[in-house]
């Protein structure tokens, strides 16, 4: 037999030293005990004959999807949302446990829909609960940033996987500061939302449909993501290049839509001046990709990470629609103006779908321009992306990071690897004020609560044991 070229040593360093002494290369694994109480479940899943191929299929399904922008229309038409029905970010939650920013957004949404005249009156409406209902965006093929509140009259982007016709949806981005998704519901917030409903939405619909039906075909959102990752955007907290590329693709059709030039100019100014406008396309593109992996029996891949401001929840490809939840954490980062840590609400929003798909915090290395915004340094950013490869199943060949020699972004979070290494997914996030009505107070980095991964692992292992017993 030939002498091994390399030995991967996991465990006692002494044996690695002995191999190095014999002039053979050694790669030393920095092994540490897994998360408490996971030994047996990890062994069960290691032994599960489905796991490896299921994960390969789940990852491949996710990476295959190309998301295109095919329409813009009101939620009432697209989702059949009726007055009194509200979608929100994160796992399911009732008004009683809802955080300040989610309550603020719901109150503003109720005023927008005309259920109340004054948003302050909406609290009583939600407390009684008789004429309103709350449902997670994720349950309606939708994602919403921050509070993620969607009401029937809000206009939504429609993303489609051309290969299957599957669709996902997301509202239009309002900009930063005092905005509904951060829990603000003042008059300026409602005025902006009404303008988006009456002017921006219909204009975008005309433009998106015109582009879709032209020779060039619908806007390739996945393709824009590929490009923006090479232009300093990580597509969660920085979407500047993506927003401008979207404008490039839509603005001729906006100009020729027949809409009045003043409205077109105002719309172009609004979109061009909102660096986060593309986030609301990045998110449903990520969801469209991840949903392709849902329902893969035996797969331990995470298909959604979402927060409602109170709970952080994950779903996996192998556990259907079940949520595994724990308390949402406070982000660590920088604060706007005089705001400080005491003003911040725990983590909120469906936007962690970007990290779930391998961008956002996972692609931090490609966005050095914002490392300080989220309280880090450039070496931290490189280390973060590399560290995320320890908990993911593979790399995305389309979405690459130039500074890491065009290595693909770390893709497909594996519950078993999170439990084995104790490395938690790194999420870039905005911070909402904890009082309803305040709006954004900062931005930073956050991780899920560690305990939700052993919970998901236990369920996956239980299902594996049931299969083995069949």
């Amino acid at each position: 037999m030939t002498t091994p070229a390399t030995v991967v040593n996991v465990g006692a360093d002494l044996f690695a030293d002995a191999i190095a002494d014999q002039a053979v290369a050694v790669t030393r694994v920095d092994w540490r005990p897994p998360m408490d109480g996971t030994d047996a479940d990890l062994a069960t899943l290691a032994a599960d004959p489905l796991r490896r191929t299921a994960n390969e299929r789940a990852l491949a399904a996710m990476l295959e999807v190309t998301a295109t922008l095919v329409d813009v229309a009101p939620a009432s038409e697209l989702l059949g949302l009726e007055p009194g029905q509200f979608l929100h970010a994160g796992p399911p939650i009732a008004w009683e446990r809802a955080s300040g920013p989610l309550r603020g957004a719901l109150m503003g949404g109720a005023a927008l829909e005309g259920l109340v005249d004054d948003p302050e009156d909406a609290a009583a409406l939600f407390e009684s609960g008789t004429s309103v209902s709350l449902e997670p965006c994720h349950h309606r093929s939708t994602v919403g940033p921050m509070a993620g509140v969607v009401t029937p009259s809000m206009w939504m982007f429609v993303l489609e996987d051309a290969a299957t016709g599957r669709r996902t949806f997301c509202s239009l981005n309002e900009g930063l500061g005092k905005v509904l998704r951060y829990g603000a519901y003042g008059p300026e917030v409602l005025t902006r939302l009404r303008w988006m409903r009456d002017v921006l939405g219909p204009l975008l619909q005309k433009a998106v449909r015109a582009v879709r039906d032209s020779g060039q075909g619908p806007v390739d959102v996945t393709g824009i993501l590929t490009q923006m990752l090479q232009m300093g955007d990580e597509a969660h907290n920085r979407n500047r290049a993506g927003t401008l590329m979207l404008l490039r693709d839509l603005s001729p059709a906006m100009v020729t839509s027949g809409t009045g030039s003043a409205d077109v100019a105002e719309s172009l100014r609004f979109v061009g001046g909102n660096d986060h406008f593309f986030l609301n396309l990045a998110m449903p593109a990520c969801k469209l990709a991840l949903d392709a992996a849902r329902g893969t029996e035996g797969s331990t891949m995470v298909v959604a990470m979402a927060r409602n401001g109170t709970d952080f929840g994950i779903q996996t490809a192998g556990t259907g629609d079940e949520w595994f939840t724990g308390p949402a954490q406070l982000a660590d980062g920088l604060f706007l103006g005089d705001y400080g840590p005491d003003d911040a609400n725990p983590d909120i929003g469906d936007s962690a779908i970007t990290e779930t798909a391998g961008i956002g915090g996972f692609a931090m290395a490609t966005a050095p321009a914002i490392v300080r915004l989220v309280g880090g340094s450039v070496p931290d950013a490189l280390a973060t992306t590399r560290r995320m490869h320890e908990i993911t199943l593979g790399e995305n060949p389309r979405w690459t990071v130039p500074v890491l020699e065009f290595q693909g972004v770390p893709s497909g979070i594996d519950v078993t690897r999170v439990c084995r290494t104790g490395i938690l997914p790194q999420i870039n996030t905005g911070m909402a004020g904890k009082q309803a009505g305040v709006g954004q107070v900062g931005a930073g980095l956050v991780t899920p609560p560690a305990e939700i991964f052993p919970k998901a692992l236990a369920r996956l292992a239980e299902l594996a044991r049931e299969r083995a017993a069949r």
């Binding site: 037999m1 040593n9 320890e390």
Partner: protein
């Protein structure tokens, strides 16, 4: 005045070998009379309690315990700083500037290195997960870890068999793969013999004796002690035989094992018969030849001369006492000695009320603790107890050299033997090229008053002879 300091560090972790080094480093500090830094496993708590330390009741296996006995309470700060420095130093690696953090899983490591094999020595409860990473990435794996559940061993070996990969272990202490020693392995010259071994120290005895006889070994593949059981059915043995059969350098394959389950034995014999390379079976057990006799059979089959197996030194005068006390670090060496004694003295006289043969490498002694070939303290402690026991007539020991084992075992063992009044017989299992320097080790032990053999079977027979003399 002497004070004890015990603190728990929940969530802190280092492997048992690192903690042994840390404990030693701290023991060397001024004002420190005793130091034990260990994970709070049941066994370690017992050891600490015996040392006179009070371990808090809430201590669990995921907590690190720092236990210090100080000449003076003032020494505490210096001692704790010493603990922290030693833990830090143990983790420091002189690999030059490393921008990229090391891999955290075996799967991640194999993304970085395209070929090679894996050596897994994490705790048994975690071994399958790491070993399966290697197999799924298409690599052979050696599992040194013990305490791996049988069903997990079967799953791992079936997955490997589907891919034509070799799993050495679990509980595989020794392997030589294309000349590279893995785990506890002796340095051997390349040669015509290929070994498949279900026993680590049995394999090492063979390597040592063949080396003395001037016969080299191309590869020695461990398969784990349960591989030829009715449950595992020789999955690794078949693959190991196949690999050695493919190796043009191998003229004779030697299979060392306890007798397999009957129907498995038939299957393996049939498989061995289908190979182009002859296979010599060295089966260990009651009524079977010992390892030395097995080696002699191998030499004769190769047409080589059987040399005189070396002996150095002479034992102390016999004293009182009736019993043989065998204290071993090698499991197969312990069972070989016990078999020989049972054969010579009768089953009734061997056991807890008679002659005893303790294997300190047994799972019961190694949970959360380094193997006695690395950490001799437990056996040294028992050696002192046996020496103090008036019933002890003769003490029989083994010393196993090679990569991975203690760098200088005689440094602590020779003075301990010199302090023993009873006759001491030692089997030193090693080759001339081993890093510990076989000749120097043998001299040091012989100078301390022991009779030193290369053959464990010869050492055992000599110890039995000395009991007869003691009667």
């Amino acid at each position: 005045m002497t004070t004890n300091h015990v603190e728990l560090r929940p969530g802190a972790y280092a492997d048992s070998v690192t903690l042994l080094q840390v404990s030693r480093a701290v023991q060397g500090l001024d004002g420190v009379l005793a130091a034990q830094v260990a994970m709070a496993t049941a066994l370690n708590i017992e050891v600490l309690t015996e040392m006179g330390f009070a371990v808090p009741a809430q201590a669990g296996a995921n907590d690190m315990v720092v236990a210090l006995r100080l000449a003076d309470a003032d020494a505490l700060d210096v001692a704790l700083a010493g603990v922290d420095a030693a833990l830090r130093d143990a983790n420091r690696r002189d690999d030059g500037p490393t921008e990229v953090a090391p891999p955290r899983t075996t799967a991640s490591a194999f993304r970085r290195v395209p070929d090679g094999l894996a050596l897994v020595s994490v705790p048994g409860a975690n071994a399958l997960v790491e070993a399966m990473d290697a197999v799924e990435a298409g690599h052979d794996v050696m599992v040194f870890s013990d305490n791996v559940p049988l069903d997990q061993e079967i799953v791992l070996k079936r997955a490997a068999a589907e891919r034509g990969l070799l799993v050495m272990g679990p509980d595989c202490g020794t392997a030589v793969v294309g000349g590279l020693g893995l785990g506890f392995a002796n340095t051997v010259s390349p040669g015509p013999v290929g070994i498949v071994a279900a026993s680590g120290t049995g394999c090492q005895q063979l390597l040592a004796l063949l080396d003395h006889a001037g016969v080299g070994v191309s590869s020695a593949l461990g398969v784990g002690g349960r591989d030829l059981s009715a449950e595992v059915r020789g999955l690794s043995t078949r693959e190991a035989l196949r690999r050695l059969d493919e190796d043009a350098a191998v003229e004779l394959i030697v299979l060392v094992s306890k007798p397999p389950a009957d129907d498995v034995a038939a299957e393996i014999r049939e498989y061995a018969g289908s190979l182009g390379t002859p296979v010599e079976l060295v089966l260990l057990g009651p009524g079977k030849p010992d390892l030395t006799a097995g080696t002699e059979a191998v030499l004769r089959r190769l047409g080589r001369d059987v040399p005189d197996w070396p002996v150095s030194g002479s034992t102390a005068e016999r004293g009182g006492g009736r019993f043989l006390r065998g204290l071993f670090v090698g499991g197969t060496l312990a069972s070989e000695a016990k078999l020989i004694a049972t054969d010579a003295l009768g089953a009734a006289s061997v056991g807890s009320a008679g002659h005893t043969f303790v294997d300190f490498g047994d799972d019961a002694y190694t949970t959360g603790r380094a193997h006695p070939m690395i950490d001799p303290s437990l056996r040294l402690d028992h050696l002192a107890r046996a020496a103090a026991d008036p019933e002890t007539a003769v003490i029989l020991l083994d010393v196993v050299l090679g990569h991975g084992a203690e760098p200088d075992p005689s440094a602590l063992l020779a003075p301990a033997i010199a302090a023993v009044s009873q006759p001491v017989v030692v089997a030193v299992v090693g080759t001339e090229a081993d890093p510990q320097d076989l000749a120097r080790q043998v001299h040091a032990l012989a100078d301390a008053g022991a009779e030193v053999h290369l053959s464990n079977a010869r050492a055992t027979r000599r110890a039995i002879e000395l009991i007869g003399a003691a009667r």
